[in-house]
């Protein structure tokens, strides 16, 4: 099969749309922090994307998609994009490379949730390069680069495990190492710019269509299915989170949009395997589940500040399991639990479990090492003044 202009057009645009998710995460997060840290939050998303770009086109792509070494990692055969050409099957190899790049970029941006409003910029850059190399690249290899998980038959259509479990549980580990924001629990740290978060949420929802349906790597019926279930799950999650929180008080727009993201996360691994009615269920459960996880996190006094763990981590876990539950052979060729395939469900659970452990442990060690060497956190004074001024020398309405 040669290049197909339709597929190529589709993935070119999808790549751009997924790229937009990275600043989308920045805006989504930026609206939730105190105004003295909003620039820092958005800037980190750009910087995450920039450093992942350079990492990916040198070593990262090859580590993830190079010839498999023992099921764990790719070789450096494609170092510096060596041998990645402008032709390919359906779409150019080079395009596949950059489509994968933008996934790696947004994943690192999600991770900033755990260190929001208190990480040192220089340490974030070092952490970012290492995390992408040591956590993201192996996970991508396992799922999509021919590693053990794909050999085992684990299903992860668009990155529930690779992107969301890794960043969600990674953020949790980071939050544990870096410690709570000073004043956390003592005084309110409510979102100061909800509008910005809603703008970010809009860009995320928009980009997620490309994230999920683009993962079909072709403009076909499977892409259409992924598109449709993505939208349904987002809507369902938005509504159930809203209703669940309504039962306790006023339904905040933050809850509504967080529910949408929860729905989007949960459908990510499943979107090439399940149908529209399953998507209502998957998204709906994700909305309620992630909402409860957020409450649980708050109750435990854990400052995983912007809830990457509750939403991406736990939503990703639910999505991985849900794929094993609701998959139907008529769409993606594999049946799940409800069609009697216990085996697939167990594979999903195993895959998710290993990913959680790996992401959590490696991130934890990495953060500890950086903390002991260069220091992960700004000083108390810098934190009080805010990262915008202390890390960037800028402020809103200077």
């Amino acid at each position: 099969m040669a290049l197909d202009t339709g597929d190529t057009a589709f993935i070119l645009i999808c790549t751009a749309m997924v790229m937009l998710m990275t600043p989308g995460v920045g805006l989504f997060y930026g609206g939730m922090v105190r105004n003295k840290n909003v620039i820092s939050m958005i800037a980190m998303s750009f910087i995450a994307f920039a450093i992942v770009t350079i990492q990916w086109v040198t070593a990262g792509y090859s580590l993830a998609f190079g010839p498999d070494i023992s099921g764990f990692i790719g070789s450096l055969e494609h170092f510096g994009l060596n041998g990645v050409g402008l032709d390919g099957e359906g779409i150019p190899d080079m395009l596949f490379m950059v489509f994968q790049l933008v996934f790696a970029g947004v994943t690192l941006a999600i991770l900033t949730s755990g260190v929001a409003e208190r990480i040192k910029l220089s340490s974030f850059i070092v952490l970012g390069v290492l995390w992408t190399t040591l956590v993201y690249d192996p996970l991508a290899h396992w799922a999509w680069g021919g590693g053990w998980a794909s050999q085992l038959g684990a299903l992860d259509f668009a990155g529930g495990t690779v992107v969301h479990i890794s960043s969600g549980f990674g953020a949790l580990a980071l939050a544990l190492v870096i410690g709570k924001r000073s004043g956390f629990g003592k005084f309110s740290m409510e979102a100061e710019n909800v509008t910005l978060t809603l703008v970010g949420g809009a860009l995320l929802w928009f980009g997620w269509f490309a994230f999920n349906s683009g993962s079909a790597l072709a403009a076909n019926g499977l892409a259409a299915n992924a598109f449709v279930v993505t939208n349904i799950s987002a809507a369902s999650g938005a509504l159930t989170w809203m209703l669940a929180s309504w039962a306790k008080g006023k339904p905040s727009s933050l809850g509504m949009v967080s529910g949408a993201v929860a729905g989007l996360v949960a459908i990510t691994p499943a979107c090439g395997f399940v149908g529209p009615m399953a998507a209502i269920v998957i998204g709906g459960i994700a909305g309620v589940l992630c909402y409860r996880m957020l409450l649980f996190r708050v109750k435990k006094g854990l400052d995983e500040s912007l809830d990457a763990w509750a939403i991406h981590g736990m939503g990703g876990l639910w999505g991985a399991l849900a794929t094993g539950i609701f998959a139907t052979a008529s769409i993606g060729g594999v049946n799940g639990l409800i069609y009697g395939n216990v085996h697939q469900f167990l594979i999903q659970a195993l895959d998710a479990g290993v990913a959680i452990s790996y992401a959590f442990v490696v991130t934890y060690i990495l953060a500890k090492v950086i903390d002991k060497t260069m220091g992960l956190r700004v000083t108390e004074t810098e934190e009080y003044v805010g990262l915008d001024i202390s890390q960037h020398g800028e402020s809103m309405n200077a």
């Binding site: 004043g183 005084f187 003044v385 202390s390 020398g393």
Partner: protein, 110 residues
């Protein structure tokens, strides 16, 4: 009547409000300000150089109260707004000659 102007850390506002309300002091007007005290603001170390951040966000609370309430209110604000570190803020008391409601024709002079 006196006017109390209290300049506090923004993050302490809720505590201060609650502590005041507990003692029955509700009426107040607040607004965001920035300021520096005699410490000239906050000093960040940056590669040997010192960078002064001289305008730190604060919250100002204005309360017009009866003369006998000044002392207890100062005490409440001090208790609830104090962290013990530089930048906790300051309270000013000045005279007010007349208080007039807008909704009614009530007026209080001294």
């Amino acid at each position: 009547m006196k006017k109390i102007n209290a300049i506090i850390r923004p993050e302490m506002l809720n505590d201060v409000k609650a502590a005041l309300a507990e003692q029955g002091y509700f009426a107040m007007t607040v607004y965001e300000v920035k300021g520096r005290g005699s410490q000239k603001g906050i000093c960040l170390q940056y590669r040997g150089k010192k960078i002064e951040v001289d305008m730190i966000p604060k919250m100002e609370i204005d309360m017009v109260v009866k003369d006998e309430d000044v002392r207890p209110i100062i005490d409440i604000i001090r208790r609830s707004a104090r962290t013990g570190k530089f930048g906790d803020g300051r309270i000013f008391v000045s005279p007010v000659e007349l208080v007039a409601a807008i909704r009614t024709d009530d007026e209080i002079t001294e």
